[in-house]
């Protein structure tokens, strides 16, 4: 039984005036992946959530998940201005000042890349993929956007949901490798593992279209990010990311910042549908009078 991948999806809908462009909008592929992602069956003998707890219930260690790992489940947010500029920056109209998050406050650009960053900076009002166009921020920028994100943690899989543009990362924890030969992705391909109590996420396959910040700091498709999430207490975590991209930087460099847990009782993500709001603004007078 075959199914055309576009049989109902509207994303496959061709533009009304240029049907062929639909092909650029969507390419579906099939990839074999070595490891299975499916169910995790942990038999704990505990009655359903919301019902009375059984005496056999394993006692939960505070700050730990039932499998003994540090518990990152919940809603987090940074408290800095790195989305404006990851380096030290003074205030400007509409842009808060801030301390940088880059170790040594210096990004080791090649000379050509340094010139490109200056050009990006000059055109940031229109060219910033995230701020000006509402595209997914990529990694690590999604972490320090001024919006919360939620970590969902199970033994074989971690997911991170970001409020901004409903970006989503799926992080297999099963030891599977990065897939070969798949297209680059806005949020990359993430594979996680534990090093002691640190959640380490290796990110590759990142598209060359995202920036690190609104100041035009950028990378190529050779970007390789290694993130480290470490709980420092139940409501704080240290976020570190090593950034490597031989096409753009002369050596790897590092950012770090604290993450703050939302402790409000009803903490949750809402929706920031950036693209939708931008369309409402740009197309409010459509159809346009020529």
């Amino acid at each position: 039984m075959t199914h055309h991948p576009c049989s109902v999806s509207i994303i496959c809908q061709p533009p009304f005036r240029a049907a062929s462009e639909a092909q650029t909008i969507k390419i579906r592929r099939m990839i074999p992946v070595a490891a299975a992602l499916l169910s995790v069956f942990l038999l704990a003998g505990i009655p359903a959530a919301g019902q009375a707890r059984d005496a056999k219930a394993a006692p939960a260690t505070p700050g730990r998940t039932p499998d003994g790992k540090p518990d990152f489940n919940g809603v987090w947010q940074t408290m800095n201005t790195a989305a404006v500029d990851i380096l030290d920056h003074t205030g400007q109209l509409g842009q808060p000042p801030g301390l940088g998050v880059v170790e040594g406050n210096e990004i080791p650009y090649t000379p050509a890349a340094a010139a490109k960053q200056k050009e990006n900076y000059a055109h940031r009002a229109t060219d910033d993929p995230t701020e000006a166009n509402c595209f997914m921020p990529g990694v690590p920028r999604a972490t320090y956007m001024p919006f919360p994100f939620e970590i969902v943690q199970t033994p074989k899989q971690v997911a991170i949901r970001y409020e901004f543009a409903h970006a989503l990362r799926n992080i297999p924890m099963d030891g599977s490798p990065h897939p070969e030969g798949v297209p680059d992705a806005w949020m990359g391909d993430s594979r996680g593992h534990w090093e002691g109590d640190t959640l380490v996420v290796d990110v590759k396959n990142l598209i060359d279209q995202t920036w690190f910040d609104h100041a035009g700091n950028f990378h190529s498709d050779a970007l390789h990010v290694v993130e480290r999430y470490t709980l420092t207490d139940p409501t704080h975590a240290l976020y570190e990311a090593t950034i490597e991209d031989p096409k753009v930087f002369t050596k790897p460099w590092k950012i770090s910042m604290p993450l703050y847990r939302h402790v409000e009782k009803n903490a949750r993500l809402l929706e920031y549908e950036c693209v939708f709001y931008l369309q409402e603004e740009r197309f409010k007078d459509a159809p346009f009078h020529k």
Binding site: R17, A19, T24, I31, D127, C134, V152, L168, P179, F283
Partner: protein
């Protein structure tokens, strides 16, 4: 503009996995089977339904539906495919087909799919609202304005009815106090809060609504409110009001199937609630969902309306 255009070349892709799926999965287990099946438990005691699935058959066609404005069958005089002579067509037949009439599974066991209440699939429309929606549909092709563009074509969150069908894989994750749905479609996700919190206040409106839930045996019952007035059921039912209230029941039937039933209550559009049924079936092992970017590559609105004037 330059940025938008250059990015469009690079972007949107999705990975779909699923060709052999329906052939492989047996649809259906009867409710008595569901009662006798004892699923594994998560550490906090929830019946465990984690895994990757596809949803089947939930969005079915009502009786006497209006012509689908983008129906590629050619039966609709308004459809772009019927407009071979003008600049808008022809519309390739591989694209959207809209809702399907669903009257049961093709597997070993019969299962009612799509609209199950009312039995005759005549939806309890308020007549003036039905007329309004039929008029709305006529203005979707070509779209009279932004309001008449399908939500999915705008890369917005799809609401709870769209985005799951059509072999877009879909994952359930469970952790203490939450069930999380991860969609392949447009990197959508959805959280069901099990911790007894109340719904959000009425001034917060969401594409995916605000979902609270609890387990009744092997059934996850999800109550969702706080929708905005933009979500849709199908091409033929292109919007709900913000009074929409849904109650979904996800029943673990066996290791591979989760039954689905949803009661749809929108007192602005309908005189009484109606019900839809479908099911989720597990995908074969070894597949992963990769990124389905949408907005990052979409030229749809520019193709419909042209490039917006600079302000």
């Amino acid at each position: 503009m330059r940025t938008l255009l250059s990015i469009s070349i690079a972007t949107t892709f999705a990975i779909a996995l699923l060709a052999p799926l329906n052939a492989q999965t047996s649809p259906a287990a009867k409710s008595d089977a569901a009662q006798s099946y004892s699923p594994p438990r998560t550490p906090d005691g929830q019946p465990d339904m984690q895994g990757m699935y596809t949803r089947n058959g939930a969005v079915g066609l009502e009786a006497h539906p209006p012509e689908n404005p983008i129906d590629p069958s050619g039966k609709n005089a308004l459809s772009v495919s019927a407009r071979a002579g003008d600049e808008l067509g022809p519309y390739p037949k591989i694209f959207g087909e809209g809702g399907r009439a669903l009257r049961g599974g093709k597997g070993r066991q019969q299962r009612r799919l799509g609209i199950i209440d009312p039995e005759d699939r005549n939806l309890p429309w308020r007549p003036e609202q039905d007329a309004k929606r039929r008029d709305f549909l006529i203005h979707m092709n070509p779209p009279a304005d932004l309001r008449h563009v399908e939500l999915n074509a705008r890369c917005a969150l799809p609401g709870i009815f769209q985005g799951e069908d059509n072999n877009n894989p879909f994952q359930f994750m469970q952790r203490t106090g939450e069930v999380v749905f991860l969609y392949d479609y447009n990197h959508t996700s959805r959280v069901i809060h099990l911790d007894g919190r109340p719904h959000l206040g009425k001034d917060i409106r969401l594409f995916m609504g605000d979902s609270i839930g609890h387990w009744e045996g092997n059934t996850l019952v999800v109550d969702t409110t706080n929708f905005n007035d933009r979500t849709s059921y199908s091409r033929e039912i292109p919007y709900f009001s913000d009074s929409l209230h849904t109650i979904e029941r996800f029943t673990i039937e066996d290791a591979n199937n989760v039954g689905y039933e949803v009661t749809i209550d929108d007192p602005v559009l309908f005189t009484r609630p109606w019900k839809v049924a479908g099911y989720f079936s597990k995908v074969p092992k070894g597949f992963e969902s990769l990124e389905f970017a949408c907005a990052e590559g979409s030229q749809t609105l520019i193709d419909m309306f042209g490039i917006p004037p600079q302000r």
